[in-house]
Subunit: 143 residues, 2 copies
Amino acid sequence: MRLSENKITASLKHHGYKLTPQRRAVIGAIASSPDHLTPAALYRKVRQDHPAIGLVTVYRTLEILAKLELICEVHAGGSCHSYTIAAPGHHHHLICADCGEVIDFSGYYLTELEKRLCRETGFEIEGHLLEFIGRCQNCRQHA
Amino acid sequence: MRLSENKITASLKHHGYKLTPQRRAVIGAIASSPDHLTPAALYRKVRQDHPAIGLVTVYRTLEILAKLELICEVHAGGSCHSYTIAAPGHHHHLICADCGEVIDFSGYYLTELEKRLCRETGFEIEGHLLEFIGRCQNCRQHA
DNA sequence: ATATAAATGATAATCCTTTTCATTTAGAGG
DNA sequence: CCTCTAAATGAAAAGGATTATCATTTATAT
């Protein structure tokens, strides 16, 4: 389950950020999109309802949301800077290569592997990046 | 075990690319580095021995090497465009957040998870991105 | 040696992202 | 409600990374 728009605005307020119409618009756009968006794509989407917004504001809003971990970066989609709304807690992404839809999943599949790597390499492991890329049912049927 | 310089030059020739001194220099630099390098960092390194080389040539060489899968992109290191020499076959990276060293490992830890995701989501999974980030023994001791 | 297509490097052009700064505004406190 | 103030905005410019253009050079097949 993904974070709701309300949770996000609440977290912004809680951290002392002002709730401007522009920020609401960016949050609304990203929260209502099932797939991941680049800053430019998000800008285009937001401008439909909010033509006066500046691209800079989109960047600044994304920066804040990322710092508060309310959105997360998607890598496997090709573009290195795509964002999607965060799900609470640790999770991973399954991304459709055609339509870009992002499905979250979670689980602790990697703890055994982490332990083994620690033993064998002496590394202290702090985090990981795991994403699957594929084709969703819908895109497969329409191909 | 990582690809040797010889394997890489052989593959270049085999695919009809010419073996120029500049390309040798780029390959030498990337093959001799245990960590991952951005195009700019690689450019700086190559210029020490080969001052006349252009940054453009570095980009072009990286493009070819990536297409032939002789080098691979590293994501978790922060910069979205870092490259390191490829290991033959499918593998993953364990990256030191301090010194950038990249350790390869392989295994088939994800096939069960892939099957489950297929069943539950209807996706046809084509690939994945798995990287661990942490601190190597050496960096931990010197911290 | 020669011919030729490919590769190079300088330059310019494009993106994408971040700074700067004057103006506007959200939200706190009266 | 007003007023005030720091924060946020948008326009413009700057900065950085990557790609395109093009005349010149060069690796390699012959």
